[in-house]
């Protein structure tokens, strides 16, 4: 299984074996995430869009919390007529998912009536509910920020005793852990409160346009809907702002291209008032806009800019260089908005009848209403909150490491959230009884084993999908979120037998043609390998990679539809991109010269 499996039909889950020697690491994942015999009857696909690398035991909490929330909203809150939730299974650290469709017409009809009562209320009251959502999210973030640092003092502080608090620090430890976990699960419920409805309204307009204008490109429709001031664009906008500040304050010389963060800051401190002023501006930007991950936020090691300034500072130096080269970094938002209005009006004029124009007006209005959420939620959920969450767990890691549970604070992420709770209880127990915790005998070996397994799994390509391909994929969640359709699966299946072996087809995400050297990037750490003019080939492009979008000539991803965040941001930056190729990262070899035609959705290997 060293190469990607290229079957004429996808292998059955039961044929997928745990890599020998990693069985104990596999067993760490909860029993309900292990494939069972009955799973052979269903269709599954590898969610490389969200989980492109093997997931450590703790990080699995993201899949669990997200699918719990997605399923609850689809199945029981909004009652989507044709779909329930998404099941997930884990093998070799890879997350496979499968949708639960509703196919009985009577059940669909009954759910439809419920859907109208529930979802339509959201559409009608979108702005109010979304304002409420933002307030709710900010409160949740505030709650997470105010959780105490996990610590166990030698003796309970006198102040607590005199205040008659009545609970000791070991209980606070337990309480903090549970609240941390609870907050994360809650955040994912908020995340999905609007998501499917938002995507659905957008897709409604999208499909109308495709019917009215059969040859319209995806990106034209996206341009009619996309906003320009969504929160997800703010971090990059802040970098542009800080670069301008540096030039205006005359401290731009401090931003030498290969200087480290420490060197830059030290140099600024020598610049007196102007340097201090710039550092003040940096602080303003950092809170909250540097709470953004260098990855997708689903892995504990996707650190935020705030935790590792090297990423934003590298971009800052590049931006300063561009300003000094006479370039304007200004995004002309008003002009972009005026262009968008004109685009909408021009297409409207092409419709044949007044009736069609009335429908168009209703749909674009709805799409515009939902889009701020579609573009904006990710900053609050996947970035800001997720950073707080992983950093809090990291603090627990620090405490446990200090008590000898494992060598390094980061090792905490090799425990599942159940195991971590047991370790916390072990420690609180030991602290209370005055004896030694048992963890130091128990965890180090397991942690080492699991780290080794992750390294082994990362080298094993895995099948993009498992089981029999369904005749029709009618699950709006799967189609919209993952861009998976009957056509895309057929493409994956015959990826190797097409008439042109050098041609890889995917979804046209952003128009434009680019040629360059392919760089296969499968982990965030590898991003530094990218050179100017390279073409990024990855499992999924990430919106927060935006700063490197200025450097690369094009992007290719394995997974993603035209609504994936990658596609949205690629369009924003005008970066030629083809997403949803299925297996671009294995068919294209690092260093090959390739051509990306983002308008047609075709990647060509040029040799």
């Amino acid at each position: 299984m060293n190469a990607l499996i290229k079957p004429k039909q996808f292998p059955l889950p039961s044929s997928l074996k745990v890599v020998p020697g990693t069985e104990r690491a596999q067993a760490a994942y909860p029993y309900y995430t292990q494939f069972s015999a009955a799973d052979d009857q269903r269709f599954w696909f590898y969610n490389s869009m969200h989980f492109p690398e093997p997931m450590s035991a703790f990080d699995m909490v993201t899949a669990e919390a997200a699918y719990c929330a997605l399923g609850a909203v689809n199945t029981r809150v909004h009652c989507l007529p044709t779909t329930l939730g998404i099941d997930h299974r884990i093998i070799n650290g890879r997350v496979y998912i499968g949708g639960n469709s509703v196919t009985d017409p009577a059940e669909i009809a009954a759910r439809l009536e419920e859907f109208k009562k529930r979802a339509f209320y959201y559409y009608e009251n979108w702005e109010r509910l979304y304002d409420q959502w933002r307030a709710k999210m900010l409160k949740l973030i505030e709650d997470a920020r105010s959780l105490p640092k996990p610590e166990l003092p030698e003796l309970e502080p006198l102040a607590n005793v005199h205040a008659g608090r009545g609970v000791a620090s070991n209980h606070i430890l337990f309480d903090t852990y549970q609240k941390t976990l609870e907050g994360y699960f809650r955040m994912w419920h908020h995340h999905f409160e609007f998501l499917l409805l938002g995507y659905g309204a957008y897709m409604t307009f999208f499909e109308f346009c495709k019917k009215a204008f059969p040859e319209i490109t995806d990106q034209t429709i996206a341009r009619m809907v996309a906003g320009f001031d969504a929160e997800i664009f703010r971090p990059d906008d802040e970098l542009r702002r800080l670069a301008r500040c540096a030039v205006e304050l005359g401290v731009d010389k401090s931003f030498q291209e290969h200087a480290s963060v420490d060197e830059i800051i030290a140099s600024l401190k020598l610049k007196g008032e102007a340097g201090r002023e710039w550092l003040q501006e940096l602080e303003t930007s950092r809170n909250p806009w540097f709470n953004i991950n260098v990855g997708d936020g689903f892995y504990h090691y996707h650190r935020a800019w705030n935790d590792d300034l090297s990423m934003p500072f590298a971009s800052l130096s590049a931006y300063v260089g561009r300003l000094n080269a006479g370039e304007s970094l200004h995004r002309p938002i008003e002009k972009l908005q005026a262009e968008r209005r004109q685009l909408i009006e021009d297409y409207r004029e092409l419709l044949a009848t007044a009736d069609e124009r009335a429908a168009y007006d209703q749909m674009i209005t709805l799409a515009h209403r939902v889009f701020p959420y579609v573009e904006g939620h990710k900053f609050y959920c996947e970035h800001w909150y997720t950073n707080l969450f992983f950093n809090k767990i990291r603090e627990f890691g620090g405490l446990l490491a200090a008590h000898g549970f494992f060598p390094d604070a980061e090792d905490v992420f090799q425990l599942t959230h159940y195991e971590l709770e047991s370790a916390v209880i072990d420690l609180m127990n030991a602290w209370s009884t005055g004896s030694q915790p048992r963890g130091p005998e128990h965890w180090p070996q397991l942690v080492a084993e699991r780290r080794a397994a992750l390294a082994v799994w990362a080298k094993h390509a895995t099948a993009p999908a498992l089981g029999a391909v369904p005749d029709v994929i009618d699950d709006p969640a799967i189609v919209m979120l993952w861009g998976i359709t009957r056509e895309s699966l057929d493409r994956w299946l015959c990826a190797d037998s097409g008439p042109n072996q050098d041609e890889i087809r995917g979804v046209a995400a952003c128009r434009g043609v680019a040629e360059g050297t392919a760089r296969i990037i499968t982990t965030v750490e590898q991003m530094s390998r990218l050179k100017k003019g390279d073409i990024l080939v990855c499992q999924i492009t990430n919106p927060t990679w935006a700063p490197i979008f200025d450097k690369i000539a094009g992007a290719v991803s394995d997974i993603g539809g035209s609504m994936s965040h990658a596609a949205i941001v690629a369009r924003e930056y005008g970066l030629p991109a083809v997403v949803g190729t299925g297996n671009g990262t294995t068919r294209i070899k690092d260093g090959q010269r390739i051509r990306v035609d983002g308008g047609r959705g075709v990647v060509t290997i040029l040799h």
Partner: protein, 350 residues
């Protein structure tokens, strides 16, 4: 350049004059008014044709015999056509008609070296949006000198009585007395590149894209299907070029020595080169939009890029007939509750 009962210069005519100048002539006038560049020229009006046919009719009937033909009697039709075309070829032009052509031709040549003209049929029934007469009447390219021009005018008139033309009219039961032909005479464009443009997709009827096909040399190679042209699909509004197919163009049409056109081999190094730059595609798109706006409907356009000046000129524009005639189901209508639209996504089996 004054227009007269027999001659109408493009600047003086329009579609409203269709009965006098025919569809093609009227459209060239319209384009001129709309500020679109066309090769300069004039129309020999239907009055000239009427005068000519009147002389013929005084010897023996023409129109009456055509109208009495059965639509499916191909034998009789072929015989009559041969007879009539022989009469057209033999009969002299009325003196005032011959003079009118000669003096307009001289005028057209003024100011520029007259290397040749196109003589093009412009029937009164032609280019109507409900009956595309495309290709049923003759066009003569690189006609040189007054004498040749006069002969080609007669050939154009005669082509109104070709078997195909007669058959087309009989099947539709046209009244022959309403059938007349004007003739367009315009400066020939020495085309570097030429082709056609539809202001809506010929494949899907999409009104938001234009399809452009072009090849090296004169447009006759593209229209006549003698070369696989380069093809572009361009967003009418966005200008985005979504399809760019550059084909291997083996031949081009060029002026033949002594008049007419000939096929010439395209040099190897140009065969696979795009015959239009992206900028030229954008210019053409802007022209297409202007023409479409002027007429208020989708157009089928012939264009050429003039060698040397590299200007884009339109040779013809007529209403698109295929998709316009289709009754297409509306793609949507307003819903009582706008939220109902989302059921197209969430409501099941689409």
């Amino acid at each position: 350049m004054r227009s007269s009962a027999l001659v109408g210069w493009f600047a003086d005519i329009g579609l409203a004059d269709r009965l006098e100048v025919g569809g093609k002539g009227g459209n060239l006038g319209e384009l001129t008014h709309a500020g679109i560049q066309v090769p300069p020229g004039f129309v020999l009006k239907t009055a000239a044709f009427e005068r000519f046919i009147h002389a013929l009719e005084s010897e023996s009937p023409v129109r009456e015999r055509v109208e009495s033909l059965e639509a499916d009697d191909l034998g009789a039709m072929t015989a009559l056509s041969a007879q009539l075309r022989a009469r057209f070829a033999a009969a002299p032009l009325p003196a005032d008609v011959a003079d009118a052509i000669a003096s307009a031709y001289q005028e057209l040549g003024n100011g520029a070296a007259q290397s040749g003209v196109a003589v093009r049929s412009s029937a009164t029934t032609e280019d109507a949006s409900d009956a595309s007469f495309a290709g049923l009447q003759d066009t003569y390219l690189w006609v040189q000198g007054v004498q040749q021009a006069q002969d080609r005018v007669r050939s154009c008139w005669g082509s109104l009585y070709s078997v195909e033309s007669i058959s087309y009219r009989r099947k539709r039961n046209f009244k022959e007395k309403n059938v007349a032909m004007a003739v367009v005479v315009q400066t020939m464009v020495d085309a570097r590149t030429a082709g056609v443009m539809f202001t809506r997709s010929p494949l899907t009827g999409d009104r938001s894209v234009m399809t452009i096909e072009g090849s090296w040399g004169l447009g006759s190679a593209v229209v006549g299907g003698e070369v696989t042209p380069d093809r572009w699909v361009v967003g009418k509004i966005t200008g985005e070029i979504s399809v760019r197919e550059i084909s291997t163009k083996l031949i081009r049409h060029a002026a033949a020595a002594g008049g007419g056109i000939e096929s010439v081999r395209v040099p190897e190094d140009l065969q696979r080169v795009a015959c239009m730059s992206d900028e030229e595609i954008q210019t053409l798109r802007a022209i297409g939009r202007k023409v479409e706006r002027h007429y208020g409907r989708a157009q089928d356009i012939e264009w050429a890029v003039k060698r040397g000046s590299e200007e884009i000129l339109l040779l013809q524009s007529r209403p698109e007939t295929v998709w316009s005639a289709k009754e297409s189901a509306p793609v949507g209508q307003a819903a009582a509750d706008p939220s109902l639209h989302v059921l197209s996504i969430f409501g099941g089996r689409r």
